[in-house]
Structures are given as C-alpha cells and as structure tokens.
Amino acid sequence: MANTNIEGAPIRRRQDSALRVRLRRGGELLGLILSNPTTVFGLILIFGMLGMALFAPWLTQANTPDPYQMPRDWGALRMPPGTPGHPLGTTNTGGDVLYGVIWGSRTSLQLSIVVVGVTVVIGTAIGSIAGMVGGKVDEILMRIVDVFLSIPELIFALAIAAILGPSFTNIILSLCLVFWVKYARIMRAQIILVKQNDYVDAARVIGDSRLNIYFRDILPNAATPLVVQATLDMGAIVLIGATLSFIGLSESGIAEWGVLVSEGQAGIASGRWWASTFPGLMIFLWALAFNLLGDGLRDALDPRTESRR
C-alpha cells in the first residue's frame, strides 16, 4: 500500500477529495494517451487543422457575402502555385486554391461534427433502448438496423443525397441518415455486455432506479468503443462527404475539398496538378489524423491496459 508507513499505520491524507482523485485519474489517462507518439502526431495535425478553421477569416480575405463560396479572380485563371496573390495557384474558374484549402477545413469540420454528433446521439439512443428493453423491441429495432447495414454506407448515402438534390446540406442530411446504424449496433452490444456485470445487479438490490442505473453504471462503462468509433468516423465522414461532393452532389463553387478536387481533376492531364492536389492532400491528412487519434484512444481506453494502471 502506497499510503501506509513502515508500521502499516495509515498516513492521513487530508487533501484527498473526490474531485482531486478524479482529476488525477483524468491526468493519468491523458498521460497514457500522450505517451504514444503516433497519437501525438495525429493530435498535432488535428490542432493544426482546427487552428486553420478557427483563424480562416484572418488567414484570408473572407469572400462576401458568403465566405463559403470560392472567390473568383477572373483575371487569373489557371495560375500555377507561386503566383503573387495566389500562393497555391488558381483553378479553371479563377478560384484561389489556398482559400479553398483554408475555408474547406471549416466546411469539413462542420460536416464531421454535425454528422458524428447527430448520429452518435441517435445511435446511442436506439442502441440503448434495444439493449436495455430487450425482447420484441430489441428484435424490431435490430431488424431495421440490419436493413440499413445490408446496403453499403457510401451507396446508401449517395442514393439519399441524389434523391434530395445536390447541395452540401443534403450531403450532411444523407450521412446522418446512414451513419447512426453502426453506433446503434455497437451501443446495443456494449449494453448487453455491461448489463451482465454484478454491479448492475448490486445497484438494483440497493433500490436505485433504472434510469439512474443506466446513466451511472451502464452508459459510462459501455461508451468507450463508441468514443473510439466516433473519433475514427470524424475522418471517415469527411472522406465520404468529399466523395459525394466529388461526384457532384454538392453545389459547385463552394469551398469544399471534394468539390475542389472534382473541379481540378480535368486539368491534371494538362499538367495543372495543383487545383486537385492541395485539397486532396487535406482530405488525406484529415482522415489520417483522426485515424491516428482513434487508434491511440482505443489502446489507451482498452480495459486490459486500464487494469495495469
């Protein structure tokens, strides 16, 4: 025991308090996450891109009235990188590639936060109801989930987005309709697993309410895989969103990486590589960063590593 002296008598530690212990534990967890260099690299990338999104209005001259529309410089079409005023060159239609890259990070952030946020909430709710209630309710909900799962995510989202008509908002909407399914599955499986722990029965014997047991015992112990999956999906969703934009399901002219890649691809054959490459690189870095962080979280939050602490 760390807190006993040589005679085995306890040393009083008056400063101990629940908050302090929880903070210390949080610190330990953070330390564990940060002890993995690839996770740190992922975090640096994420912070870099978040910074880019946050400071976009200061890094570039915001387009008016809508800063998410690419500004057009009709006097500087298809200029290569290094052109004064356009450090990363311009597109076929005179759009500044740098502007697109910077404001595109905002669009991507919007896309991934909205989609992950909405789908995690829906998925958690549906998975929790299925796992907690069980029986017929579980059966019905899971068959619905199976129907969704039987169609590949990308194709399903594509179909919905095509029906709704080409716009960036509709891409967000279609991804929300598709992505909750995975979380519902994970959540249900986790809840059924966690429910078997004796501490859940112990709480019932005490007489605590079902809602309390769910929020205090079951959800916190079931959430870890969902957090990891959500982190990984922050990257995957931008990738899929860009794909949908690339094939023309977004408005043309908006500062979005997939749209930019799409608009620039015609010029690649004629040697104008820059209009597609820089936004493409951003998509790659974004997906990579969240995958690294997700993997790091999975390792750090794994219960097997947890018990070693």
Partner: protein, 447 residues
Amino acid sequence: MTDMSRLPTPEQASEAASGSVLSLRGISKHFPIRAGALQRVVGHVRAVDGVSFDIRPGETLGLVGESGCGKTTLGRLASGLLSPTSGGSYFNLDTAALSKLNAAYALPEDARAAALAPLEAAHGIATMPKAAQSRFRRNCQMVFQDSFSSLNPRHLVIDIVGRPLRVHKEASGEALTERVVELLEQVGLGRQHLYRYPHQFSGGQRQRISIARALALDPELIILDEPTSALDVSVQAQILNLLNDLQAERNLAYLFVTHDLSVVEHMADRIVTMYLGRVVEAGPTRTLFDAAAHPYTRALIAAKPDLAVDDPQVAKFAALDGSIPDPARPPRGCHFHTRCPVATPNCGWELDDIVRLLERSEDLFESLSDVSRHSDFAGELAFEDEGSAERLAQALRSDATPASMRSAMESLTVDGRTLRVRFQEVGEVQLSDRGPDHIAACVIKDA
C-alpha cells in the same frame, strides 16, 4: 409446481416461534429453451422448482448444492433480482403471520388464494404496496461472488458504499462521508480508502467494500452468494469471521449460498440442500452433519476434503460419479436416483436410465434407431441389427446394471430387433419429517 408436501408441516411451523424475515413458498423459476428459426419454446429448464423455506431473524441459513443445482438462481429470487415463474416470497412475517401463511398453504389449491390475499397484500414481495417494497429493498441486501464485477470500476469507494444512503436519501454531504467512514471501519477498512477505485484493492478488500455497501441501510437480511469462493483460504477465514462478528452485533440474518460444506459448517445454523432445483433436505447444521437423511447430503458432506476417507461408510459416498442430469428433463421419482449409491427399486428407475446406460457404450448407442415411449416408465428400443437388442438385454440382467434398477424392471423382453421394457411406476418423492426441524425427500425412511 407448488406442491403441498414440500411445505413445512404444522409442527415445523410452530417451532418457528420468532417469525421469519423471508419466507419462500413453492417458488419456481423456469427458463424457456428456444429453438428453431422462429425461436419457439421447446421446453423449460427448471432452475428452481417448488422451493419453500423460511429465513428466521438473526440466523444463518446455508444453501448448498453442486454447481448448476439452482442455488444461485434461488439466491437471486430471494433478493428480488429475478421474479419467480410461480410461487411467492413473503417478507417480514411475525409469528402470527407466519402461522397464517402456513395455514393458507395447507389449504387445497382452490381455497388458498382467498386465505392468502391479506398476506400477499401486506407481505408478498411482488404484491405489497410501494412503501413496503422500498422497505424490503432496504432490508434485504446482497453480496456477490465476484468482487471484481460487483463494484463499478468507475466509481470511488465513497460513491459505492455511500450510494444506498444517497438512493434512500438517508445522508448527504459531510454526514454521508462520516457514515461511509463508519461503515468502512466496521469492515476493517478506513478513511484512507474513501477516495480510491476498486482496482486499487485486493480481492478480500473488495469483498469488504461489498459488505460495507450491503450494511449501509442496516438490513435485516443479507444474501451471500458464494462470498468467499473467489478468495484465498486465509482471506476467506477473515471474511467469514467478519461476517460472524457483524451478525452478532446487528442481529443479521444470512442466506449463505455456497458449495463449500466446510464453510457452511462453520457459518450456518441450518442447512438447505438443493439438487436439480429442488430442496432434498433441510435441517439444523449439526443434525445434517451427524445424521443426514438424504444420500445426496451425505455425499456432499463426504466430499469435504478434511474427512477421513478410510471410513467405509463415508467412502461409499465420497466419490459421486456421473454429472448432474439435464434440468430440462429431470429424472422421475427421486431426481438423485441416477447417481445415488444406495438407490432402491422404488427410486424412480425409468426408460431414460437405459438411455443413460447406452450412452456409455458407444457401439450399442450407435445402433439404436428408435425409442418409442408408452410412458416415462415403459417403452420399446429399436436397434438396427439383431444382436444389439439381445446384448443390451443381457447387460440389463447382469451386474453391469445396478441391482436396484434390475429389480425395478417389471418386464424385459427381446423381440427381434426391439427390446421391450417396463419399470414399476413411481411417484415423486416428497419431503417428509425426519426429526425436529428436519425434513428430507428420500424413499429410505430410516437411513
């Protein structure tokens, strides 16, 4: 499955002078077995089947049996974690209420409901009003076997032990902390452990935390589900002594569920032995250890490692062979007759026993093509070749078959490839009186 004869007789009831903390009457839990694409119910596992007993204030009742005999399920039924398929549990009966309960169960089934109604309303765990249910929740606590899984890994000790007090709004803030410290000190822990996570403790310490949590609401009954089976022997002794001390201080009643006879001998005032979901014997600990009436109880006691196995009487029971039969299809007559070392012809030998014998001899079992039953006790076994039926008949007449089983066969004929057999029909073996406060379900009356 509420069966009159498994209930205590009026004489036994009168001995329970001080009432009962918890009374189970004919309580059953059947789990459905589902099969096929449509998940239809094809049978039931009778985990607990018509069990009745009382837990008296301040006593330790040991519930023993092999793994799979339904004792853990019974513990969960008693604590209210599971709801029974049939039967009732009644909480906090005084002497008068207990004798009313016994009188009601002595009535024939159709007249029973009316007599039970007032008792159900006041004491029935499923039927009593909300306030009484909350009182039951506070008064009946539980300690689980696996101390790893019974403490939420994300909660601090103060939250775990203080939670019952919070839920029932007994204390908060500074007062709560002080109450938790008091509870921790009672189980041999202290203030320095308040702000720690369960994983920072050893198995024995975690079980102490579990006990502190169970004590928080000052219950009258704690159900201990194998509380020491996962612990080292030395730690086991500490926890058992702690439980004994706490019982003496607080007049606690324990339902001690275990498979460990040495623990139960040390702890229990009375013992209930379960086999395949039923009570086969119940009585005071001393009586059971000195003169158990049921061969199964004797086998369990003989299997205790510290007894001298040179004693031939003990050795006979020491090694129970075979495994527990399928609880979805329990044997006829006495459930235990398939493994009983002293079985008689009247113990319920049946067609399934021949099938069990066949399972041990591979070639005969493989040539078996069909079993047609006239009843559980009579039927025909058809084989693919001529020799098998005759060979089986010879085996059944020889020493390879228990003598009691041979004498239970009323007829045994071979007709070409079929073997016809009929056993004498035997009813269920009922619990009967064997002495003061001592009941057993065995056909041998003067064991």
